[in-house]
Structures are given as structure tokens and as C-alpha cells.
Symmetry: C2
Subunit: 276 residues, 2 copies
């Protein structure tokens, strides 16, 4: 792919889970330069108030805009659910959140219109998925549940489908979810960490319902949305990055070398430490 | 107790677990005014690098000093383990950390000199407990293990001794600990959240070893140390607080009303939101 002279795409997340979005983006748009920022000093956002999430998200976006990106992807579901409007209002370039593409995927996948959403406390409390799903499928039955233990479980690496702790946690949460709606046919993984637990979540759901659920996340739908927006943007020369270049920044570097490859699916070249 | 004209004691923590220290302090020094700060917007510190922990801890201490405290207690084990020297260097008043009092308690409790320490990744990685214990009991065998799941488990409220998830997590960690030293007779709960899990930790340790371990934490030893230091300080009039007054501040207010009473052991009058 030839040097395209384009400004990079910016992606931010509360931590490094957003590298799952970078992975999908690189698969869909291999020639694009990407700047990634993980706010690892202040992670997680999922347990915090909308006010704090918005304040930190604005600072993350400002960092990306200062790096010359011409499109911003909010990989973090909590930030997307609580700060999308504020981020769009503060950005001169297009901003894509995680919730709307995730809702598109869920509606496309659901055969019976019974959709479950699992995510952080902040994402669930915001009601953002319910609103996005209801707008797309007015007759759908939507059940959302916060699953705070899933993120530390993924960070600990206890993610195998037969891991005793992972199974016990998944049974506890999913049992509650299916008690609220036994007919759920589609499950939205509404947090960038949850795809690492896809195996144990799928196995537990099958065990509890006797059925195979459609399990969707936002990453590939976000990459599709980015491709559509990017195709419509004028080519802006200057501060261009090499095609396919990935520059990673983080506000704290603890465990990055160990954790980041799990989400990106390949080695990460290294993170540059920044203060916001 | 008469108005003592003294400045308040300052206590800070990465979150609200440090209210266990406030609880011990109020039991030991009921007449003293206390200013508490939880850095709940940036919690947890336990997974982050020493540099970030030090930076945030200095900001917390500065807030307390600006409120006129004449003694600072670092309730957070991670901050104590990684930033005590920097905090003492930056403070004009005495500073008490969590590690040294915790080590005192452990050495006093241990009959066989085999001491286990559990805490956050940041606390364990620092080696601070090992150094403090070795200085007090040069012949002791010390085994430290990070248990990252214990904090979100306590926040989720899954703390009963017969809770299936709590038991599965405790078995996973403690089995590793006892494999490294089967003769451990004393266990240090090196994180302010862990006392909420004391029951399940004790039951699991008994199940795995067939023995009752001594289980210690830093809270009451810190209160003893505070009483000793306070007794030696001159009475400084001005900006005095009412006896027994507790003023609580936090950088994010999410779930405070729900979680704080678990740690303080009584209702909390309310938190004032502050930016650091």
C-alpha cells in the first residue's frame, strides 16, 4: 500500500482493552496510521461517575487531537456511554463511539429480539445501550447487567473456558441475567475486556440455557464505521504517518508489555509514557 | 471530651478501604478530629507503577496539609510501600505508613517465624513488607503474593465465608502461597480491602493447612502509632476541629454511600467532592 499522506486515526481507551478495536481496525484498514492512547494511570473508568469519565475522556481526546488525528474512535464503552456527546461537541473531527456500532451488530444478530447487554457499572447505569437498541429495534426486549469482576479476571489471565474461578463468576452473573429474561438470544459484550472471556461466557450461557447464543462485541462494527467515515474524509496532507504505523501511548506503563499483546493479538512495539 | 484545640489528623487512601484505618483511629483516639481523603477517581493504585502511585500520593498529602492536619496517615498499603520516603520528604508534619505497623503486628503474632503477606501487585512488587519484616525478625521466612481479585470481590460484596466465588478465588491464591511455604503461621492482610474478606481467608487457610493462622492487618497498629506520635506533638491552636469530627473528601462519588459504611462500620455523614 502506497504512502497515503493521511493523518492517523486516533483511538483511546481507559486502559489497553481498546487494543481489540485497534486489531479490528488494522484488519479492515491495513494502510492507515493509528495513534492509540490508554489512560492506564486512571483505569478503570467503569466504576466511576459520569462526571469523572467525561473529564478524563475529554483529556484523552485532546491528546489525540494534538497529535493531528482526523478521526477519533472511543474504544472504551464506559466513555462512549457517558461522554459521547461531550466528546463530539469538543472535537473538530468525526468521533465514533462503541455503543452505536455494538447496537447495530446486536440487532443484526438477534433472531428473537431478546438482547442481553453486559458491561461495566458505568456503562449499564448510563442506559446508553438500551437507548441505542430501542432506537434500532423498538420491539426488542433488552436486559442489561453490570459484571465488574470480568475485567480483573481478564487482567489476571484466568480466562480459560474450564477455569474454575472464571466459571464461578460467569455462572453468578449470567444466572442473574437469564433469570431476568430467559429468552435472551443475543449477548452484547459491552466492554473491551470481555472478548477475552468469550469462551467461558459462551460455554456458561450454553450450560444455563441449553442454547447457543449469538455473542457480539463492538470492535469489528467500529472498524466498519471507521472505514465508512474515512472514505468520506478529504485527504489532508501534513504530519502524515507511514501506512500501517501504530504509535501507542499510555499514562502508566505497569504490566503493559505483559497485557497489551493479549488484546492486540500480536506483539506491541512499545508504549510511550505521557502525562495528561 | 473537651475541645482540645488540636489540628485534625489526616488520613488518605486510594479509595475508601482506608476507612478501616479511620475506624481504628476513632476507637483509639475518640476525641481527635479526622480529615479523610479517598482518591476514588483514580483508584486503584495497586495495579499501577511506583511513579504514578508516588505522584498521586503526593497530591493527596498536599490536600490534607492544606486542610491543616498535623499528622498524616497513609492508609493505602500500595502508597505506603511505594511512596513513604517521598511523602515524608514532602511533609512538614509526621507521616505514618501502613507497612511498618503491619510488620510490627505480624512479628508480634508469629510463633514460628513463617509469615505470609498478601496485597496488591504494587505492594508485593515493592518488597516493602519483606524489608520491614526482615529488619524486625532477621530469621523469619517471608512469602509475599499479589491477590488482585480480592479488591473487586470486596467491592462486589461477595465476601461471605461460604460464597462460592470468594472461596474459589481464595483457594486459588492461598494454595499458591502455601505451596511456596507450607509452614506459614501468620498472614498479613496487606491491603485495606482485605479485612472485609477475613472470614473467607481464614476459613480457606484452615481448610488448606489444617491449622488456624494468625491473621493481622495494619489498622489497629497504625492507630497505636498515631496515638504515640500525637501524644508527643505540641498542641497547635487554630483551625481546630470539634472533638471527634470526621470530614470526608473524595475525588469521585460513585457508590460511596453504598460502599463506605462497610469499611467505617457505621454510616458516613457524607463526602465532599474535590479535584486534585
Amino acid at each position: 500500500m502506497a504512502l497515503n499522506g493521511r493523518r492517523p486515526i486516533g483511538v483511546f481507551d481507559s486502559g489497553i482493552g481498546g487494543l481489540t478495536v485497534v486489531r479490528a481496525l488494522r484488519a479492515r484498514l491495513p494502510g492507515e496510521g493509528i495513534v492509540y492512547l490508554g489512560d492506564t494511570a486512571r483505569v478503570p473508568y467503569g466504576s466511576k461517575s459520569p462526571r469523572t469519565v467525561e473529564r478524563y475522556s475529554i483529556a484523552c481526546q485532546r491528546f489525540l487531537l494534538d497529535r493531528g488525528v482526523d478521526l477519533v474512535l472511543i474504544a472504551c464503552n464506559t466513555a462512549s456511554a457517558n461522554a459521547l456527546d461531550a466528546l463530539r461537541a469538543a472535537s473538530p473531527v468525526p468521533v465514533i463511539g462503541a455503543v452505536e456500532p455494538g447496537a447495530d451488530s446486536a440487532v443484526a444478530a438477534s433472531r428473537g429480539g431478546h438482547i442481553g447487554v453486559i458491561g461495566t457499572l458505568g456503562t449499564v447505569r448510563s442506559g446508553a445501550y438500551e437507548r441505542a437498541l430501542a432506537a434500532r429495534a423498538p420491539g426488542a426486549t433488552i436486559t442489561a447487567l453490570a459484571c465488574p469482576l470480568f475485567v480483573p479476571l481478564a487482567d489476571e489471565g484466568w480466562v480459560d473456558a474450564d477455569d474454575a474461578v472464571a466459571r464461578a463468576v460467569a455462572v453468578r452473573y449470567l444466572r442473574t441475567l437469564f433469570e431476568r429474561d430467559p429468552a435472551i438470544d443475543t449477548l452484547v459484550l459491552g466492554c473491551t475486556h470481555y472478548p477475552l472471556l468469550r469462551g467461558v461466557i459462551a460455554a456458561t450461557a450454553r450450560e444455563l440455557t441449553g442454547r447457543d447464543l449469538a455473542i457480539v462485541d463492538s470492535a469489528s462494527a467500529m472498524a466498519e464505521a471507521a472505514a465508512a467515515v474515512r472514505a468520506a474524509l478529504p485527504t489532508r496532507v501534513g504530519e502524515a504517518t507511514a501506512p500501517g504505523a501504530l504509535a501507542c501511548f499510555a499514562t502508566d506503563t505497569s504490566r503493559l508489555d505483559e497485557l497489551a499483546p493479549r488484546f492486540l493479538g500480536e506483539p506491541v512495539g512499545g508504549f510511550e509514557l505521557v502525562d495528561l
